[in-house]
């Protein structure tokens, strides 16, 4: 059986860091998956693609924190913001999917399941308004630093 789900790179933080990057991402896969196991001071992290910090990102999300359920949206943002862990010792189980990331024709879209298991559970969709192939991803802590022991893993999925 051909291998269709492959690890591309993993970062495990040996010390706290403000951001993590995956660079020189091969275009040989169909889709990408990023698993975030981490904490941010406010339960949020942000993604930028290919170093772009222009106002080219939008997102829609639904969210529940145990007492209120809501849906929201932001557009013309400088990054794609999403939910990660926000409580000491309770890291996130957050999974980001980026589909058809290497084509040079369409804008790039994301699906994300974000979890702060002590604070909220959420689902996000995102858009990066750029047709360039994705070659790098940078994940930035929205408040403070990602703590020691955080892991970020990039997988590639091949359609055939």
């Amino acid at each position: 059986m051909p291998t269709t789900y492959e690890p591309i790179a993993t970062t495990t933080l040996g010390s706290a860091a403000a951001s993590v990057s995956f660079t020189s991402i091969s275009g040989s896969y169909t889709d990408l998956v990023v698993v975030n196991f981490t904490i941010s001071g406010n339960g949020s992290a942000s993604l930028t693609v290919n170093g772009d910090t222009g106002s080219n990102y939008s997102r829609t999300f639904m969210y529940g924190d145990g007492s209120s359920a809501a849906s929201g949206r932001s557009s013309n943002a400088s990054s794609f913001t999403y939910t990660v862990g926000g409580t000491t010792n309770v890291y996130s189980a957050t999974i980001l999917n980026l589909m058809n990331y290497s084509n040079s024709t369409t804008y790039k879209t994301f699906l994300l399941r974000g979890n702060d298991p002590s604070g909220a559970t959420a689902a996000h969709i995102g858009l990066w308004r750029n047709t360039a192939a994705i070659t790098s991803l940078t994940i930035t802590c929205a408040s403070g630093n990602f703590p020691t022991g955080s892991t970020f893993t990039l997988y590639g999925i091949k359609a055939a």
Binding site: M1, T3, D65, S67, A93, I95, D116, T121
Partner: protein
């Protein structure tokens, strides 16, 4: 390159149903675990999860939709059929359209690590009726022990997963 997304074990429920579905002696050689469930119960369909047989230190947050409304709630431990656990999804309920099974995907990252163990799940309880359910969960077991066994339980006391329910445990390696 080695296969990184690998089936570890599958359970298919036989005639008469079962009160729980367990995966034990889970290999410690993967990075993350995924459980895919196609299930139906003889009760409400709510599905709980216990780790390593523990009956303490669970909590979860739920976000759900019915087709006409949304809801969210949280619990520090769910008193399911077999004691404290966390809700991990929904499967088909006895009141649902016949032969309709629910689906759940449960993702458990870093299950051998030294942090608290967390889970993310998406699930549905489809029904040929006005109301059906989809739910998202974030759960935590506030224990740093490696995950060596997982048990899926029905929420209802004495409840069972019915025949033809299936659950498969997958392991994912990051190298």
């Amino acid at each position: 390159m080695a296969t990184t997304y690998k089936a570890i074990a599958t359970v298919t429920v036989g005639s008469g149903g079962v009160t729980s579905i367990s995966f034990s002696n889970i290999p410690q050689t993967y990075t993350d675990l995924v459980i895919l469930v196609s299930g139906r119960t003889d009760g409400s369909g709510n599905m709980c999860m216990q780790i390593n047989g523990s009956t303490t230190s669970y909590s979860q947050i739920r976000l759900g939709g019915t087709g006409s409304s949304v809801y969210t709630n949280t619990s520090t431990g769910q008193s399911g059929a077999s004691g404290n656990s966390f809700l991990a999804g929904i499967s088909g309920a006895s009141s649902n359209t016949a032969n309709t099974f629910g689906n759940a995907q449960i993702y458990i990252p870093n299950y051998t690590g030294d942090r608290y163990k967390v889970g993310s799940s998406e699930s549905n309880q489809e029904n040929n009726a006005t109301t059906a359910y989809m739910e998202l969960f974030a759960g935590v077991w506030s224990n740093t022990s490696p995950v060596t066994s997982i048990t899926l339980l029905t929420y209802d006391t004495g409840g069972k997963f019915v025949q033809y329910s299936t659950a498969t445990l997958y392991g994912i390696k990051n190298t």
